[in-house]
Symmetry: C2
């Protein structure tokens, strides 16, 4: 299973921390100290998770070695949907006129990217698909509440798109050595730690500390597990891209793993928490650092809870 | 791949057509003539897609030969989510304290049940799962608009849960001979025919006629296709359970297929359009009609658009 290409899209509106002072009463210093976030992107009024998914797809098409028409599977991932009937995967199918394709959108919150790729792996295993497009897109600012002092300032918008194939297409492909996910709803505050109830005022962070603790521990654990099951140690890892929820979670994971911080990707200061898109943006923004043979790990934790990891060989 | 057990849940509030006269101005006769719907169920104020999913799961646990703890995969399906972070699959994992499980929720609108089962098939093929719980639940009345003369009266609430295993567990299992799905967003009004935009007044039916035409034709076609690819004819089919959107769609599919109406399950008159739950309720309500060796086909069409079918041998 191979990653053929990846691209991302960020809306152009930049929201800095000062924006929140008269919204939820938090200062730039307070926000930065506790979250590591300085700015985040915000979708334009006529943008949403679906339009941003289309933008990322346009970009990845430019990079990919085969045309989108060859795709036989489209999986969308988001917890901030624009339309749960005309889903993200459907809108991308329509926009690019892809026929003879299976189409579905999913959510496991911030871990949706890895769940989506794991679902692709299943379709490859049944022989029902050989080339897939995975799009992830979050319109967090559509659902977040600016006046919420617990979570209003955390979120950013963005999208990414990835072509994934069963067989190697090019020398430049990254090979998936392993994909794994885990449902953790039975742990801690599980389904109530953080939530997005469309009929009940959008995103809420009810138990931030519980989310923090479990994000730190489960991202650390699943990274150790996926390395171990592939006979690698942390020293073999050239690039770790953890979910970008909060710089303090990132620092904790880095410390627990004992990995050099220079090997760890972080975009949370610029982009805030971009949900299930964050690790995809992390990879897409750092493709120029990759060299043949490098080992890359994407590690995620999502509200609900879930964890997931993908180990890739450049 | 086997269906071990299935159960459903319907909320107790019954809404008849007269309810809509002073809401969207439609009479009982108008509604019944055009849709075949007389009543539909409505969730209580403290119910939602997640609570209903739990209720259906309680019921299927009673019927199943193995305990829910043996499940290693939980897939939820809904386009009317209560929480897109603490998703339906997560809430069920938490409620029944299932550990060591993969957990994700999906939407391809009214075809989500078949997409969910197809995703299970993929997990079975990779060897990452052997026993799965699929739950589907729709809280249509949470998102529908009673005053909407195009679609306010169409929807009903309900849920269903299914245990599915890779290997046969019992003589009573139904065998999946084939599962198939198709993304059809490139057809007709695709992503705009019907929609649910949580931030934009919920469910809307913008192009009912377009949905009607494609539902008729694609449900007919995919039923023919799945029978043909398994070397059956329509005469071999003992029970057809089409998606329950509208009795006129059902009648059209029955006519196009040339199947005896007595072999076709319909619950739309009592329950309205229960979204991706409708065929699961159809099967669950008619288990007593099944005899060893019978051939059963579930056929769905979803907004977005998508189609799907599952062929089962009792």
């Amino acid at each position: 299973m191979y990653l053929n290409s990846i691209a991302h899209y960020l809306p152009s509106i930049v929201i800095d921390n000062d924006y929140f002072l008269d919204k939820n009463g938090l200062t730039d210093e307070w926000i930065f100290t506790r979250t590591g976030i300085k700015t985040r992107r915000k979708a334009e009024p006529d943008e949403n998770a679906n339009t941003m998914a289309i933008e990322a797809t346009k970009r990845v098409i430019e990079l990919n070695e085969y045309p989108i028409e060859e795709v036989d599977l489209i999986i969308g991932g988001t917890y901030t949907p624009y339309d749960t009937v005309g889903t993200m995967a459907h809108v991308v199918q329509e926009e690019f006129a892809v026929s003879d394709v299976r189409t579905v959108s999913i959510s496991s919150a911030c871990s949706s990217l890895i769940n989506a790729i794991e679902i692709v792996e299943g379709y490859f295993a049944t022989g029902k698909a050989e080339k897939a497009l995975v799009i992830v897109s979050e319109h967090n600012t559509g659902y977040s509440v600016d006046t919420d002092e617990f979570a209003g300032h955390l979120w950013g918008d963005g999208s990414a798109a990835l072509f994934v194939s069963k067989d190697r297409v090019s020398e430049n492909d990254l090979e998936f050595l392993e994909i794994t996910t885990q449902g953790l709803a039975n742990v801690g505050k599980g389904t109530t730690g953080v939530g997005l109830q469309p009929l009940n005022n959008g995103i809420k962070m009810r138990y931030g500390k519980d989310v923090f603790i479990h994000a730190c521990n489960y991202m650390t654990q699943i990274t150790k597990d996926i390395l171990k099951s592939n006979d690698f140690s942390i020293n073999d890892l050239d690039m770790l891209i953890p979910h970008q929820a909060n710089v303090r979670i990132l620092n904790n994971v880095v410390e627990q793993l004992g990995i050099e911080p220079t090997r760890v990707i972080s975009n949370v200061e610029r982009l805030g928490n971009t949900g299930c898109v964050s690790t995809a943006i992390g990879l897409s923004e750092n493709l120029d650092k990759l060299k043949k043979g490098m080992l890359v790990c994407l590690t995620v934790f999502g509200g609900g809870y879930s964890s997931g990891a993908a180990l890739l060989r450049v």
